[in-house]
Assembly symmetry: C2
């Protein structure tokens, strides 16, 4: 069991520029109503730690949230478990909160706003930034929240999933709702190019490479047909431009051309323009 | 263990209007590279079923993906496990794919686009709609993907999480990436109001309620101070407007006013304007 707690993806402190976001203050509380299994409390705590949540409130939990089974599932979330608070009733658990979101999988006969997890996360961020105390309620593993419990909440949250197979376990539900909370605070780019001690090639680097390649392709006979030459050159340049080479890769490519053309032969030129031989 | 597989949130077929999306064709394949534990393969299969993915490919798995432990974690994902295919190498598993995304938690010394799970999902949707065959690779539980394996992918995917606690288990990683794939196909509203056999109150319903309430508040003496009356009326109307009452609730409110004012007393009026007594 504890082996499953091992990280699939270890984090290095040296990973500069990772796509992440700071953990915010005034994050929502997570209220688990009558959780049945210690493992599920543990995995909820792990998901909370992953997504920057720390205030765990347990309403009449049926097993010990500091048992070995809970701690094994929690891994890094142990701190969350140790700070968790137990309450007898939902009313007591949410007494200090100003806005409560109830996660449900089925519609109740209540006139209440229903939000996707993503829309709810935006709503939570706006209220949190405004200083409001907020919380997210999750129901029992088998039967969810009762209608009187949902009635205590301001808003219902649904997670859009495959309509034929939308059931989640408790830890997964906390992970997805917490994930959306965390993403709503992520202001970084969606896509970056990772450059490792190098930089994108400048256009003059590319032209130098094209000219070197085309000269040797003429010399070796590949571009011997004058009629076709212009089309071939355009196609080759298009292909190489699309690769968005770095300046390091341009130098490597110069070396590849030279070695393919001359190998260790006697007519090997001393240098090619645009690269230093010792770079390759 | 199998109890954990029980749904926390049962789905009813009667839940019309749920915030969900259809499962699309040409969804990404999921490639698990040397998964160590049957439970993790099972929970990945469950996450795939939740998020509309079905093509599971296993590269040299270390345990039986149809074992009891795998099936217990998979719950609804059993179908995915039964259709899963085993491959000896990553190269064989992705041979037919035209674009491969590699999930990693640490930056490698490779010049490659790095996308958040959300940006990657948009990218996948665009390619999928264009008929491209795509896949998402997940590494071993402890050590992830090797650099040569990442080099086979077109794009790296990172999940932005708490930088101090970003480790996910395999099932959670598949759930979050699959969840983003599914959300990228969700075209529904972020927020809806659930009306249960009723409709929002029209403005004339509200004015009728205000006039009934204010008349009785004058009669009972609450609005006896003429100087304050206009301010009080404005505040009361503001409070009630904010509740966005339904027409059913307006009728209930008429009944509440009447009963609070007259109870079973002899001076109880036969009717109030704007509601039918038998509605309440």
């Amino acid at each position: 069991m504890s082996k499953k707690g091992n990280p699939t993806q270890p984090t290095s402190r040296a990973d500069k520029g990772r796509l992440t976001a700071p953990v915010s203050t005034n994050a929502p509380a997570v209220i688990l109503v009558e959780p049945q299994l210690a493992e599920n409390i543990g995995s909820a705590a792990r998901a909370m730690m992953n997504t920057g949540l720390s205030d765990l409130r347990l309403v009449d939990p049926k097993e010990d949230w500091l048992s070995d089974r809970a701690l094994a599932m929690a891994t890094n979330g142990e701190k969350v478990l140790r700070q968790a608070r137990r309450f007898d009733t939902v009313e007591a658990a949410i007494a200090d909160l100003e806005c409560v979101y109830a996660t449900t999988a089925r519609r109740r006969g209540m006139v209440k706003p229903v939000m996707t997890a993503r829309a709810a996360a935006d709503d939570m961020r706006a209220r949190s930034a405004d200083g409001r105390k907020i919380g997210i309620m999750f129901g029992r593993e088998r039967v969810g929240l009762t209608n009187p419990e949902v009635a205590l909440a301001n808003t219902v949250v649904e997670v859009p999933l495959n309509p034929e197979h939308s059931s989640l376990n408790l830890g997964q539900a906390v992970l997805l709702v917490g994930y959306e909370w965390f993403q709503a605070g992520y202001a970084g780019p969606g896509v970056v190019m990772s450059y490792n001690h190098t930089r994108p090639a400048a256009n003059e680097d590319m032209v130098g490479l094209f000219e070197h390649l085309e000269k040797e392709l003429v010399n070796c006979g590949f571009l011997r047909n004058d009629d076709m030459r212009a089309v071939m050159v355009t196609n080759i340049r298009t292909m190489l431009q699309r690769a968005e080479l770095t300046e390091q890769e341009v130098r490597t490519f110069h070396g590849i051309i030279k070695e393919l053309r001359y190998g260790r032969r006697d007519d090997r030129p001393k240098r090619q323009p645009g690269y230093r031989e010792d770079d390759v």
